[in-house]
Symmetry: C2
Subunit: 342 residues, 2 copies
């Protein structure tokens, strides 16, 4: 144990949740395709592109047989925290349609408290068409639907105040309405002296919001998650080491994920290297970053040292990439040694 110094900034008020997440509530529609499929449909590998209804229908019609699995970045992360034995809440918007019921069943069944009422009218529940190539890479085309309509009055103030950590999804920044909502959520959590965590989500998403995000992250964020492309895009640095230096001091902790090269945890004074947990074969990398965040945040909320938090993150990410879909198929709690289970 490196010690519990990571808890120094946290409120001493009693909290009933480890983490509450806020993001786009999405059902994933997943197919396995050849590399040619990406080229034929002008899809940028590993990225997330927002699409409209027409494109969603056209792309779906071209896809191979699919699996449908509940998704949404922050929702995946919260499901992972619950699967580790943590107490998680979720804020996101669905319609009262089939996909909405499916999403709602799965997040509740995972043990996450999800209390936002489904909309009775308006756009349908969001879905993301996820194309998985033979190397396990995922390329996402997302129709946001009703998730763009998450408003300030959907925020459960008590839930936000009672969670030790707020986790915000960068993706949600693409829509003005939801951006305002997330700013309000951050303000509520900050006022309650809670820890603010944020994921950069996608490098194209970073490039769309770079200036705002540098300011937001510096002013408000305690724990930042991002991969190499994303932190380089945010910082404008060409190398990972420059980007790591850039982020030091801007946030308390930055977790930078490096795919098969593991991850580094960057604090003001140190960098901790975490090895990737080996898997027999990467079947579908969807949710790798989301579940990394689950492991890290669960450990952090439970007062574990940063190295242990990173190891929990690696174990959680490894489970998710060994099968299709971004939600755990076995209780993550069963994969961690009793040492971590406290």
């Amino acid at each position: 144990m490196v010690g519990n110094s990571n808890q120094s900034n946290q409120s001493s008020l009693e909290t009933s949740y480890d983490v509450v997440g806020i993001g786009n509530a999405i059902v994933d529609v997943i197919s396995h395709e050849s590399e040619n499929f990406l080229q034929d449909h002008d899809l940028v590998k590993n990225s997330m592109t927002l699409i409209e209804t027409d494109m969603a229908v056209a792309l779906y019609n071209e896809m191979s047989p699919t699996l449908q699995s509940s998704g949404g970045s922050a929702a995946n992360t919260m499901s992972g925290i619950a699967s580790l034995g943590g107490k998680a809440g979720y804020i996101g918007k669905i319609r009262n349609d089939h996909l909405g019921e499916f999403f709602s069943h799965d997040i509740n069944a995972a043990g996450v408290d999800f209390v936002v009422k489904p909309a009775k009218e308006g756009l349908p529940t969001a879905r993301s068409m996820i194309v998985v190539t033979p190397d396990g890479a995922r390329t996402m085309s997302t129709y946001l639907g009703i998730s763009t309509n998450l408003r300030k009055d959907d925020l459960d103030v008590e839930l936000l105040e009672s969670a030790q950590i707020l986790y915000c999804e960068g993706y949600i920044w693409d829509i003005e309405t939801t951006k305002d909502t997330i700013r309000s959520a951050i303000a509520i959590a900050k006022d309650a002296n809670r820890t603010i965590s944020f994921t950069l989500s996608d490098s194209f998403c970073v490039s769309r919001h770079k200036e705002e995000w540098v300011e937001l992250i510096t002013d408000k964020v305690d724990i930042l998650f991002g991969n190499e492309d994303e932190i380089k895009e945010l910082s404008g640095c060409n190398t990972l080491s420059e980007a790591a230096q850039w982020i030091q001091g801007r946030v308390q902790i930055a977790c930078l994920t490096l795919a098969e090269r593991g991850s580094i945890i960057v604090t003001e004074n140190e960098i901790i290297g975490i090895g990737a947990k080996q898997v027999a074969q990467v079947i579908d990398s969807t949710g790798a970053g989301d579940l990394y965040a689950s492991g890290f945040l669960f450990g952090y909320a439970r007062g574990l040292d940063l190295k242990t938090c990173g190891e929990l993150a690696s174990i959680s990410a490894a489970e998710i990439i060994s099968h299709t879909g971004a939600r755990p198929l076995v209780p993550l709690k069963s994969l961690i040694t009793s040492e971590f289970n406290k």
Copy 2:
């Protein structure tokens, strides 16, 4: 090659399809649960139970996070045949609802011709709640919905006449309407001098229809598929060898699947043993029998000898049990050597 004697009974008329399948069009709702879940909900492991709406809702509410994947025994088999490079058609009934669209997308995307129009009213599309235990066993609770409404006028006579083999699902016998429909389909195919194949589906299903099935199979069926429990139940024999002897002469070919012990192909004069293809771990056995039938029927339709048909069956079944869901995640054609690809 044992030779092409297996083709002797077949019509010399030109056929444009290898196989046409008829069955209940179902979407699978799959979760991974502990063994206790089966006991707590009075579910009989490895069986298929028909349930009503109330039970379907209650069970779904108790299930862990789910994956939704198109299913239906004969539909899985036809998808497997298309995935092997064969030409397959499918007859089954869906509603014009979300699950119906999902089913329709997936079977068409697999390359199967599915031409039955979705019903515009009536019950919703069928779904099967599939509980997968840690040993990979699957236990199914099926709400049949609109699939019970497959009628004679849904039969595409031209499709039935133009397929070398008709494949019938035993499950469909549970409803009078669909039983009549399948009898009509068999009559049409018989009149066109086509090969009739039939799967016993489930041992409880066999016990419900034993007398009728012994008569049907003896009179009309050329190729029979079943597992050890099912053939014992049908024959009333206590041992596999007795059951194998019983079926000899009643059908031209019986393919008896024995899980990890492989399968035996029983003809009037011989028994051929086929080894199970090893998989690293059985994740979900759903569809094992269905995909076994895909491999066998594809090989048979293409005039391959019975041993080779059995090997294609084993390869196809091995792919399906190595992941969650009963439809192939990779083209089965890519798993078979060029020797088989003719």
